[in-house]
């Protein structure tokens, strides 16, 4: 069911973004869907310590599996994560945990804000 997408690393910056080459297609898109809150490759932006999303990159695989299954079962109370964990299969949880545990922890960039230019709105 899962198709392995093994692409050999080549020279260039993109290589750094692709440290985990054994990932399946299914997992790479599912994991990327987490980026809205947890950042590209699980590296969350830090700006408001108390409520920053958890950086998943480089966390222990067993820890991620435990958290997600606890959110899924309701053993651990969540604000929003129970919605996501409940929609995943146990195999997907396992694959996601494996994927994020293999990501390199890096500091995410934020784009700088700008002054809105005088252009025509649509």
């Amino acid at each position: 069911m899962l198709i392995s997408s093994v692409i050999l690393p080549s020279q260039g910056k993109a290589t750094e973004d692709f440290v985990y080459v054994g990932q399946a297609l299914h997992t790479r898109t599912l994991a990327a869907s987490c980026a809205a809150c947890h950042g590209t490759h699980g590296n969350a932006v830090t700006f408001n310590a108390e409520f920053d999303a958890t950086t998943l990159a480089g966390l222990d695989k067993a820890y991620i599996v435990q958290r997600l299954t606890d959110f899924r079962s309701g053993a651990r109370q969540a604000t929003v994560m129970h919605r996501h964990a409940s929609g995943l299969s146990l195999e997907e949880i396992n694959q996601l945990a494996d994927y994020f545990s293999h990501q390199k922890k890096i500091k995410r960039q934020m784009p700088a804000t700008q002054t809105l230019k005088a252009v025509q709105d649509e």
Partner: protein, 426 residues
Amino acid sequence: MSSFNGFNRRDFIKSAAALGALSFAPYAGAMGKRSPIGRVVIIGGGYAGTSAAKYIRMWSMGGIEVVVIERSPQFVSCPLSNLVLGGSQQINDLTFGYDLLKKNHGIQWVQDSVIAIDTGARKVTMQRGDITYDRLIIAPGVDFIYDSMPQLQTTEAQKQIPHAWKAGWQTVYLRQQLESMPDGGVFVMTIPKAPYRCPPGPYERVCQVAHYLKNHKPNSKIIVLDANAEIVSKKGLFTKVWASTYTGMIDYRHDSAVVSVDVPTKTVSTEFEQVKADVLNVIPPQRAGKPAQMADLLESDYPWCEVDFLSYESEKIKNVHVIGDSVASGLPKSAHMATSQARVCASAVVELMQGRAPDPMPVFANTCYSFVDDKQAMHVANVYRYDAAKKIMVSAEGGGVSLVPSDKEGAYAKAWAHNIWSDILT
């Protein structure tokens, strides 16, 4: 007009550089040393288009050439833009450049408007030239339908009666009008029939305007004319907030589609009544964006684009993909959804262009927060899973909404915004 059609890649870059109108990442030239797998042209630099561009570059290891065509010089976020109306955010907090995205991923960028698409010749025509593609991704967002309100088509009319449904100057104008409105004035907002961009967005906007008026012009009223039979999203939560936090301020009228608008008097007519406003915000009905119309991708009886949900390739035209709000998905047209669709599309495009099959059962998430005042927010969140029998994305178990809005979710909503901006723009 210069034509890039038929030029090889290096010539295209040279022509572009000579024109001075197109910008390229610093190391794009060096990439020319090895032959790319092919060229993907992406129309639109919103949530969907930027995501597709970045992830195709990452997942192809730089092997696929990506050219984005976007007419705006800046990215302005629709998510959080209702807070500009409430006064807790400024438009410049939500405005960004594309520089880091281009530089970090070697994405070629053309700031121009698309004027024609020839899917037979695989060619996109812009005001300043043509470009050919191996695969085209169209991510244009929504287009407004002015059939019932032709008076609102002009820039001048939209300055007086802004839709503010694409964040930018109209958001600023609407805020300025609220600031100028006398205490005791009437703010009228109209909501089009679903589907439209951001299902809870209009109701969040009502909360934001109410928050501002409650604190600054407490004798003012809000009239909501909704073309739908009821509140489209987070109904229970919005109903409760309106009754408890904004008691007596909001007059909600369902089944009230706009039939005409009088611009000078700011009067809107429905089938049942005429309503005069001090500040009028008409959100017009919507359809798939103009580039999707140019490529003839809309259904004849439904103004959105049918796609294969494994690749987001159009059901009508090969090698053309549609992502984001223009897709006929039956799912919420949200920013997170646009990025989720974009990554499934990106992954499939990378595989298809190398002769491999895409993931046969994509799964992705959507989280959408709505702010009810300057601090508190509430979510609707779902995982969606491909149903191979129905060939659509369906809700997985466990989706739903917050029990109550909270400060904590307000902080999470801001974290969501920062992370999604970082993901798509760097």
